[in-house]
């Protein structure tokens, strides 16, 4: 390995600290860049002013502009570049500034990354992590607000991950970067300021495919991701005062999907609510319900709360707030599930 890609510092620091979701992302990147000289970060403006969402602050100074690499605006092109790097000894992390831009890279994302190892007869590994920043509530309008989380879940060969908390962001992103398969990792820009306790260090690295129980409860299981998981926890806290005990399961991996964790929770609570920041049709929520029905898990009538199917995300703050499930809406839906 040449001097260009030497490790920059010693072992990642460990211990529990309070970080924002944004800082947790940056810290995960920093720790993986420090631990492995073949890791690099590339994307539009990733090395300028900390990146568009300030997740990358300090990284260019620590690791240099070869490893924190700005690209032109050409997602399909630079995702293909990342693929070429990944099969020749590097471990690239690609930042897609808004999840709405993912479809411009659909050839690389759908046809190349997931299929490359398979088609070659297992001759290579494809350790590419795609960080995709999505989600509404930022008043970004119709073309900058999609979570995109279910767009690419039907692709064997690809892994799909998400994070709803700072701890999850740190833990899952590090696992994604270390994994030898392509991982599409969704961040939610509405969560970047959220603070939380984060365990740092190698012991905190997530196990691939494992869901997290964000809050334990006995009356109903809420399965969710990203901002909706965060809001579900807040709703659950509010309902606790009324004696409703809510278990919130966060799906940190949409492929592979942790059905066993959901089944275990629903077998305990007997009720299921899926909360998702996307339309229900064709998404992971519908897939979860399908699987549980096929497994014969007793759960009464499963409920859903998702984006309405007859409208798109609008800019006007009042409209956007009416379209995205709020804490109150989630609490109301939980109550109706529990009270029948």
């Amino acid at each position: 390995m040449s001097t260009r890609l030497e490790p920059q510092r010693a072992e990642p620091s460990a211990g529990v600290v309070q970080l924002t979701y944004r800082e947790a992302i940056g810290t995960a990147l920093e720790h993986e860049l420090a631990a492995d000289p073949t890791v690099l970060l590339m994307g539009e403006d990733v090395a300028t002013a900390g990146g568009v969402f300030k997740t990358n602050e300090g990284l260019p100074e620590k690791f240099g502009l070869e490893r924190i690499r700005n690209t032109p605006i050409c997602e399909n092109g630079f995702l293909g570049v990342a693929l070429g790097m990944s099969v020749t000894g590097l471990r690239p992390v690609v930042e897609i500034m808004f999840s709405d831009f993912l479809p411009t890279a659909a050839d690389a994302l759908v046809n190349e990354l997931p299929k490359f190892r398979f088609m070659s007869g297992g001759q290579c590994t494809v350790p590419v992590t795609v960080r995709s920043i999505g989600g509404a509530t930022g008043r970004f309008g119709t073309q900058h607000s999609a979570t995109g989380e279910s767009w690419y879940i039907g692709l064997p060969g690809l892994k799909v991950a998400t994070a709803a908390t700072p701890a999850g962001a740190y833990s899952v992103l590090r696992a994604a970067i270390r994994d030898d398969d392509p991982v599409l990792f969704f961040e939610h820009k509405g969560l970047y300021g959220r603070k939380g306790q984060v365990m740092l260090g190698d012991d905190a690295i997530a196990r691939i495919g494992e869901a997290a129980v964000l809050r334990e409860g006995t009356d109903v299981t809420v399965v969710s991701t990203l901002l909706m998981a965060d809001r579900s926890v807040t709703a659950a806290e509010a309902l606790a005062d009324d004696g409703i005990s809510v278990e919130v399961v966060e799906l940190r991996w949409l492929r592979p999907l942790d059905y066993d964790a959901i089944v275990a929770s629903v077998e305990k609570t007997g009720r299921l609510l899926v909360v998702e920041e996307q339309v229900h049709a064709g998404g992971w929520g519908a897939t979860v319900i399908s699987e549980l029905v096929q497994r014969g898990v007793p759960m009464g009538r499963p409920a859903t709360l998702s984006l309405p199917d007859d409208i798109l995300i609008a800019y006007a703050p009042e409209l956007e707030d009416a379209i995205i499930p709020s804490v109150e809406a989630i609490a109301g839906q939980i109550r109706s599930v529990v009270e029948g």
Binding site: R4, E66, T71, N76, G77, G122, G157
Partner: protein
Amino acid sequence: MSANERVGWMRKMLEIRLFEDKVQELFMQGQIQGTTHLCQGQEAVSVGAVGALDERDYLTITYRGHGHALAHGMTMEAAFGELMGRTSGCCTGVGGSMHLTDFSRNLIGAFAIIGPSYSVGLGAAMSAKLRGTDAVAMSFCGDGSTNIGTFHEALNMASVWRAPIVFVIENNLYGEYSPLRETTAVEDLAERAKAHAMPGVIVDGQDVDAVRETTETAIARARAGEGPTLIEAKTYRYRGHSRTDPAKYRPEGELERWKERDPIDLFAAKLVAEGALGEGDLAAMRAQIQTEVDAAAERAAEAPVLSLEETKAYVYAS
């Protein structure tokens, strides 16, 4: 270049020609199914360009890639095996005709979709540069590929990053069934290099010596850190786009005119004129290669098909 080495090129061009003819035959017999994209007529580009690479260099090719793979040293048995869907294939029969890949030789990708040959090749070139090696990458694609966004995206990035890569366009005049002039605003695709501030070079794709010389210059430039080159090799495919295409859209006489400049005939005449080959040598060489082609196909066909369980193991590495 030594006479022996150039006789080796002759052998390789013949091998590619006879391999592709055999593929056609095996297709008619049902031993190869699906589709194939043959490259008879384009052998001088494969042999001239790929032969200029060193072992450490990277190569990306496309669905019309049998010639490149063989020129790169893939055995005919591994290529036939792949086309037959057998474990004797380079990808154990999982990839098929459009995906002749061999990581042990740095042939890191064969693409069935237009575009990523450029971007993935560029990734390998940048990887080589960042890892501090002096390896270069070569990416092949056809004339039709110069109209897709990824071509321009990759050329722009390659130029901005002064990447050690050589892009080779095989301009065989047709993008699938459509003549280039109907789909493309320029006649000489090398002109498109100007838009991305790199040298664009046109070479006679029927002349293996010319292809080799042009490619060597581009590789030397890439290896010296001076950046990418776009080479346009003017050539012609004798067959249609794919197995089901009889290529009736071609004007009368066009195929015959190109066959007058057949790359194998041209080079054979040159070698004979130079005294490197005798007339009889050529016939003997052809007969010997035909025997090798037939034997390789037979050996490849003897291998079993991979089990579904083993195939599943390819989906994820972990």
